[in-house]
């Protein structure tokens, strides 16, 4: 890792841990002080999707047979696995570190990185990243933000995504001339996901009457679930002050 990269990482880390994140006094379900800017970025992302990402994903999905697309996505996951292991260890999650290490060995030996042999015998992928590591270290979620070209995030995960992008440990063992390969595989995997879940994403972006609010809600709910957080804002509609007696009619 270069010196500037290390310095940049250290700066980001202290930013995230020192609570530079915008945090409300009372925990709220949706903390979105940058909504105005976020909505502009959302409009940009939507334009990017309809002009480039969506059409590209359709060409990609139709041009490449499914086994090839799957191989590329498996490879993207494979080159990310060392990063998962490092983060598992940083989180003190020895169980997942061992699990992901086993995956990496199995897929290296029997799958050449493109076949997910480990997955087919039940050693499924357990993704993680620096955003989750920051969470286990006690960093707060911070404000909701929508990132250009990437989509919904929050302050903590945005730092995590940057660190994930510039610090894949696999780049330490491959030739410098091959360094373009892991990020390219990741982009192709994202295009594939846009194709595979096309109907779901279409309905969110183009059928919702407020795709920004809808995307924000879906992201925050799902992200908190992924991190194993208890649903602190679960609705018990029977306790809803607005519905004293919905059965009296």
């Amino acid at each position: 890792m270069t010196r500037t990269k290390t310095a940049g990482l250290a700066a980001l880390l202290s930013l995230a841990l020192l609570g530079a994140c915008s945090t409300p006094e009372q925990p709220t379900e949706i903390h979105d002080p940058y909504e105005k800017t976020n909505r502009k970025i959302h409009a940009f992302n939507k334009g990017l999707d309809s002009a480039i990402v969506r059409p590209t994903s359709r060409v990609y999905g139709l041009a490449l047979p499914k086994p090839v697309r799957r191989g590329i996505s498996n490879f993207a996951n494979y080159v990310d696995t060392p990063r998962f292991i490092v983060n598992d260890l940083a989180q003190g999650n020895i169980d997942d570190a061992g699990h992901n290490f086993t995956r990496f060995v199995l897929n290296t030996v029997f799958g050449l990185g493109v076949l997910d042999m480990a997955g087919s015998i039940g050693v499924e992928t357990r993704r993680t990243g620096f955003g989750e590591t920051l969470y286990t270290w006690g960093a707060r979620e911070g404000a909701y933000i929508e990132l250009p070209a990437i989509g919904p995030s929050n302050e903590r995960d945005a730092v995590g995504q940057v660190v994930d992008f510039i610090s894949n440990p696999i780049s330490g063992v491959i030739d410098a001339s091959d360094e373009w390969i892991p990020p390219t595989a990741n982009v192709m995997d994202r295009v594939n996901q846009r194709y595979e879940f096309g109907a779901t994403i279409d309905s969110l972006l183009y059928e919702s009457e407020d795709s920004y609010a809808q995307g924000r809600s879906l992201y925050l709910q799902n992200r908190r679930f992924e991190l194993g957080q208890e649903d602190a804002f679960a609705f018990d509609p029977y306790d809803d002050p607005y519905s004293e007696d919905p059965y009296a009619q």
Binding site: Q221, N222, F235
Partner: protein, 197 residues
């Protein structure tokens, strides 16, 4: 000795039966919550694998939603604070239109479930209701968690929310219906018309 033990256990059994009979019948048990979801899942599985047309499936989903879901409470919650100022006629018309809208919106998504299966895994009690946890396995995809929230506060055992990988239908629709109402400047009758269309 043997007969003594026998008599004691017979007595204990009788006492147990009496205690059971004295229990209020109303409390929802995890067995009942699971039973409801087993029926829902069985129906969903048979609808998605029925080979019927999409239009016919929407109708099937709507029936399923009305039979096993607490439609009035789901609709009212989706409407949020605006439910307060609505008349009871508006509320019931909205609940009706909402059922149609939901079955269309989600019925279309269930097409992706064809060939897949949903398996009930277990139940847990949360506050006054039960969560029935199920696992959905679709072809060529990692399994994902679907949780049904079940309550008997309506007088019957019905689900009032479905949570997929942490995403609550109730919350999602509250956001969407809120946006729709804003767009129509709070005109509930216009919203009801559009939901039916």
């Amino acid at each position: 000795m043997h007969s003594d033990t026998g008599r004691r256990s017979a007595l204990a059994l009788l006492a147990g039966a009496a205690a059971l009979a004295a229990l209020p019948a109303a409390a929802l048990t995890d067995g009942q919550a699971r039973g409801l979801v087993d029926k829902v899942v069985g129906d969903i599985n048979s609808i998605i694998n029925s080979g019927r047309s999409e239009q016919a499936m929407y109708g099937d989903f709507e029936k399923l939603f009305r039979r096993y879901g607490d439609v009035p409470i789901i609709a009212r919650t989706a409407l949020g604070p605006d439910a307060r100022s609505a008349t009871s006629q508006q509320l019931s018309a909205f609940a009706d239109a909402f059922a149609v809208y939901l079955s269309r919106k989600y019925g279309r998504r269930f097409r992706e479930f064809i060939g897949g299966r949903i398996e009930v895994e277990g139940t847990r009690k949360v506050r006054d209701y039960y969560e029935v946890v199920s696992n959905t396995v679709l072809k060529g995809q990692a399994p994902f968690e679907v949780v049904f929230r079940v309550s008997d506060k309506s007088g019957r055992d019905l689900f009032f929310d479905i949570v997929i990988e942490g995403i609550s239908l109730l919350k999602t629709e509250r956001t969407e219906i809120g946006a729709m109402l804003d767009k129509r400047r709070g005109d509930l009758d216009a919203l009801i018309r559009d939901l039916r269309a």
